[in-house]
């Protein structure tokens, strides 16, 4: 019988809109979690696939020694495909011409991600090419055709092997972006590598194996492989590693999405919590009546547990459907805007969303439900009886535990979840106390005000305890909204700064020292915005504190002997060194001091390199520049923003150290696409200067940022809805309390106008105070997030100090006034009856 009663109650209550807020809260939490995680998962997969093209693989293992075939076989067993790639410098000969080249020997399957493009004639139209050069053939970059005066079908000697040039290599996905790779590429088949005779003991070669597969297979392979790797010999890279502007944008976007989604989940859960409380309060009378009619405790438990379960399940189902549709729609818009297709998502988001809905609805209702079941039947005669609340600790435990569990489940990061939760709990306690103080203070201020204000203040004061809890949820909602909004603005502004409309789109290299001044003058004449000219001196770092660094493959490496701890691995290549008297723009000193005008020789080192090589202030580095060996101490460490398209350097020396060495200069500048035709005229007097076009890479970054900005906008809307729902649920919940007071005041003859004003004022004050507290909390949270999570500079947001209280007052005021309007319009008799 009880299930009939339960179902009947649910059906009617749903029809009559009495469960709307509870249902909406659950639906929203499920919709938000589902659409967010579906969307982020698909977007991320899409972005990763895109970025994987830059690696030509999902993962790259790089080694100083040949990688055993058994590792590739192990990968194949785990459904991970692989291909070998070896890159080294050499000389190439064609007839009596010779040139320095980068040889890239690759095995079948290369590239695992992205595509090769080739042309049949130098500067001819290129097309996507599958397959690789056959044994004995070489595909050659167009620059080399010029340099060696080659033609298709000509021979090219590399080491001891003669190759036939069969195609022009126009695009390799993994060509990388480095201004210094100015020697043209030659692509050969891996089977010909040994025949060149170029790889011998002592050769400076990185042996790479590319891997690709689905994430599960890769994870499986990684868990097998990683324990076998040796930090000194191997490096394991994925797309997300590295300093590329793309990787950094991606990481930040990912963190933001995760954080915003977490806040969205917390907000939605808060809405469920508030609604659950009210849901149970609404049923106090029904339980008392049923008990009076002889309903047993077990019947009542069964009726209301089933009622809640059904409500939850229906809401979860609706939430899943809505979430799916919403996400599908957004994906379609994104795909349309960006002309990209995104891969399908896994089942995980659906499970996650369902779990969020179920867990939050059931856990937040646990205590209110317990109270509900304990409502004494005597309530039918004494309407003030609400059962005991000796178990309220259980409520805090269940609610806190649930929010924490949701954070962990959603982020799968203990540390982030714990930090957010602890911060949140602390903030809640603070907000509660500040709220009460505010209410007390405003009461005193209110005593001097007009009657509607006085009534409002008195109301605030009377309900201080209830109000401070309400204020907590108002403040939390407003704070989270402001936080997401501010973070979004910061993030977009940061990207905007990184890639402004006038971001450099050309690099120039090989500028003679004598040409620097005249080139700068020509830029100025044509209104071209250019970065500073940076001198380049190629050199090697050879020792740290008198101990030589390992730069080449040595006998010990081959026999696999362990390294001595003292010896560090060097860069394995020539470095581009520069000198400067001032700190480069977009660099920030993280340790030490920048040098003055007439300082002793010294060097400033980039922070990441310092960390990787265990270097710090005071360490003495030995450099070899063209046979000239000298030592310099490190006197500062710089954080470099690699996202900027300006020349950036690991090592910057003071002018005294380097300026006497022969150097060429580099810079970058912006030239709008429609002025491209000026390039020829601009550089005609400087024939040795090489020009690199960055438009392709900046376009790619812009595209990613556009996708991510869209995603962020989407997250923001969801968080806004969740926040609005919390506010609405909270206002609704407070109505019943106010009802009694209204009856008394109406009966005593208070005019409707006075009442509606006093209610509006009460909510306005509540909203304004909540907004103010929220802004304060938001600044604090933002400061921590910016400095700790996003590695951005912290800023104050003065606008929000106005927006917060104002928006709080308006939103809460309007919601409160609208919700209470119905009560005020009812006549006194109706009100009294509804309370009787």
């Amino acid at each position: 019988m009880w299930h009939k009663i339960s179902w009947r109650l649910l059906r009617h209550e749903l029809q009559r809109g009495e469960l709307t807020i509870m249902a909406a809260a659950i639906v929203l939490s499920v919709t938000a979690v589902l659409s967010l995680s579906l969307f982020t998962e698909r977007l991320q997969a899409g972005l990763l696939a895109r970025s994987a093209e830059f690696l030509a693989a999902d993962r790259v293992l790089s080694s100083r020694r040949v990688i055993e075939d058994s590792w590739l076989e192990a990968a194949a067993e785990r459904n991970v495909s692989s291909a070998r790639r070896v890159v080294f410098n050499s000389m190439a000969f064609a007839g009596d011409q010779l040139a320095l080249i980068d040889v890239k020997a690759v095995s079948d399957g290369y590239p695992l991600r992205g595509e090769l493009k080739t042309a049949l004639q130098p500067f001819g139209e290129d097309q996507v090419t599958t397959g690789l050069p056959a044994s004995g053939e070489a595909w050659v970059a167009s620059a080399l055709f010029q340099e060696l005066q080659l033609g298709i079908g000509d021979s090219l000697d590399v080491g001891e092997k003669t190759f036939t040039v069969t195609r022009v290599l126009t695009y390799e996905p993994d060509a990388g972006f480095s201004v210094f790779t100015d020697s043209p590429n030659v692509l050969i088949n891996y089977v010909d590598l040994a025949a060149t005779g170029l790889i011998q003991l002592g050769s400076r070669v990185r042996w790479n194996v590319l891997f690709a597969g689905d994430e599960a297979a890769l994870a499986d392979f990684e868990s097998w492989l990683l324990p076998q790797l040796n930090d000194d010999t191997h490096s394991w890279r994925s797309v997300e590693d590295g300093d590329s502007p793309l990787a950094r944008s991606l990481q930040r976007a990912e963190r933001f999405m995760l954080l915003a989604s977490l806040l969205g989940v917390v907000l939605a859960a808060t809405a469920v919590a508030v609604a659950a409380q009210r849901y149970c309060q609404r049923n106090y009378d029904a339980v008392a009546i049923i008990k009076t009619m002889g309903g047993s405790r077990s019947q009542i438990q069964a009726i209301f547990i089933m009622h809640l379960l059904l409500l939850t399940l229906i809401s979860v189902a609706v939430g899943l459907l809505l979430g799916y549709l919403l996400q599908a729609w957004v994906i379609e818009v994104v795909a349309e805007q960006l002309g990209a297709t995104l891969p399908a998502a896994t089942l995980k988001p659906y499970l996650l969303a369902s779990a969020t809905g179920l867990i939050s609805a059931l856990m937040f209702s646990l205590y209110p439900l317990l109270r509900l079941i304990q409502i004494p039947p005597l309530r039918v005669l004494n309407r003030d009886m609400t059962g005991n609340d000796s178990l309220s600790w259980l409520h805090w435990l269940a609610s806190g535990g649930t929010i924490y569990a949701l954070l962990v489940i959603y982020s799968q990061q203990w540390l982030l979840s714990s930090a957010l939760f602890a911060g949140g709990a602390l903030a809640a306690v603070l907000l509660l106390s500040i709220g009460r103080v505010f209410i007390r203070v405003s009461r005193q201020a209110g005593m001097q005000a007009g009657s509607a204000w006085r009534l409002a203040m008195a109301g605030l004061q009377r309900r201080a305890k209830a109000n401070s809890v309400q204020m907590l949820s108002f403040s939390t909602a407003i704070m989270l909204l402001l936080l997401v909004l501010a973070l979004r603005n910061e993030l977009l502004a940061d990207w905007e700064r990184q890639l402004p409309a006038d971001a450099p789109n050309y690099f120039i290299i090989n500028v003679d020292r004598g040409d620097v001044a005249s080139l700068q003058q020509r830029f100025a004449e044509r209104d071209i915005i250019a970065n500073d000219m940076y001198p380049i001196v190629p050199g090697r770092m050879t020792a740290v504190n008198g101990v030589p660094v390992r730069d080449e493959v040595t006998k010990e490496d081959e026999t696999g002997n362990e390294q001595t701890g003292e010896q560090r691995e060097g860069f394995g290549r020539e470095l581009q060194l520069t000198w400067r008297d001032t700190l480069p723009p977009n660099n920030v000193l993280s340790a030490g001091q920048w040098w003055g005008a007439d300082a002793e020789p010294q060097v400033s080192i980039e922070a990441e390199v310092a960390k990787r090589m265990r270097l710090g202030i005071g360490d003495v580095l030995e450099f070899n520049i063209g046979g000239n060996v000298f030592e310099v101490p490190i006197t500062s460490v710089r954080q470099v923003n690699w996202g900027t398209l300006q020349p950036n350097f690991y090592f910057v020396f003071n002018p005294q150290t380097l300026s006497d060495f022969p150097a060429t200069f580099i810079s970058s500048f912006n030239l709008p696409t429609d002025r491209k035709n000026e390039l020829f005229e601009l550089f005609r007097p400087f024939p040795q200067v090489s020009l690199l076009d960055l438009d392709a890479i900046t376009e790619q970054i812009r595209e990613v940022i556009a996708q991510v900005s869209l995603a962020i906008g989407f997250v923001l809307v969801l968080v806004l809805i969740a926040g609005g729902l919390v506010l609405l649920a909270q206002v609704q919940a407070s109505l019943e309390e106010r009802q009694k007071e209204l009856v008394i005041l109406r009966t005593l003859g208070a005019p409707a106008k006075l009442l509606s004003r006093s209610i509006t004022y009460e909510f306005l004050i509540l909203g304004a105070i909540s907004g103010l507290i929220a802004t304060f909390a938001m600044e604090l949270a933002l400061w921590i997030l910016q400095t700790q999570v996003f590695e951005m500079a912290a800023t104050l947001h003065w606008r929000f100090w106005l927006i917060g209280p104002l928006a709080g007052a308006i939103v809460v005021g309007v919601l409160g006034r609208l919700s209470c309007g119905r009560l005020i319009r009812r006549n006194t008799a109706q009100l009294i009856r509804s309370l009787a």
Partner: protein
């Protein structure tokens, strides 16, 4: 005796000490009797009613309903007793707002596991003149109609005892009179024992016995023979 109390007391602890709401009360009500309890506000009428119905527990003394000692029953057993033997009518009707008139009347019968709940409820609503209003929700009914639904609900389990707390207190005089007539008519037809708390002396006068509560004491003031 269907209802019997011996030395029934109710005390509550207040900040000013113990408050004696009910002085020791001895009361006997036979099956089929109609009893009105009158008295000023705060005299203890409703408390007595709540103790008689097993909604609350006495501080000392005992209530026997149909020879069952309430003090020896736990909450579940008292609920069972109410389901089997007791019906209620309240001043504020206390219908469940999200159930229709028919469903409100069916509720006690369903809780008692009665398979003819709907059938009986329809008949009773017919008797109180609400056959046309079966699917209406309480807020779609007038006060008088709501109380008629409540009367139908009170009779649905064919209870031995009916407790009524100010059954016409929320109704205007004309409607009150109609509800009153209906209540007595149905009570007579079913032979139920009626215990009613009221302010209304005319209503009280229609009962076999009238008792007055005064500061927690019960005095029998009137006895009619039916």
């Amino acid at each position: 005796m269907l209802i019997q109390t011996t030395q029934l007391r109710k005390d509550v602890q207040t900040t000013d000490g113990i408050l004696h709401i009910l002085q020791p009360i001895d009361l006997q009500i036979a099956a089929g009797e109609t009893v009105a309890i009158v008295g000023a506000s705060g005299s203890g009428k409703s408390t007595l009613l709540s103790l008689l119905a097993g909604l609350d527990l006495a501080s000392s003394g005992d209530v026997l309903i149909d020879n069952e000692k309430l003090s020896e029953l736990d909450e579940e057993q008292r609920a069972k007793l109410r389901a089997d033997k007791i019906g209620f009518i309240f001043q504020s009707f206390l219908l469940i707002p999200s159930l229709t008139a028919l469903e409100n009347v069916m509720l006690p019968a369903e809780l008692a596991g009665n398979r003819q709940a709907e059938q009986q409820a329809r008949e009773l609503l017919g008797k109180v003149g609400l056959s046309e209003r079966l699917t209406h929700y309480p807020n779609q009914l007038s006060g008088g109609e709501q109380q008629r639904v409540a009367i139908a609900r009170a009779f649905v389990g064919t209870p031995k005892i009916l407790f009524a707390d100010e059954p016409t207190g929320n109704l205007d005089a004309v409607t009150g009179q109609k509800v009153e007539d209906l209540l007595f008519q149905m009570n007579q037809e079913s032979g139920t024992t009626l215990v009613m708390v009221t302010h209304d002396s005319d209503l009280a006068a229609r009962c076999h016995r009238v008792m007055r509560m005064d500061a927690g004491r019960l005095i029998e003031v009137q006895q009619h023979v039916a």
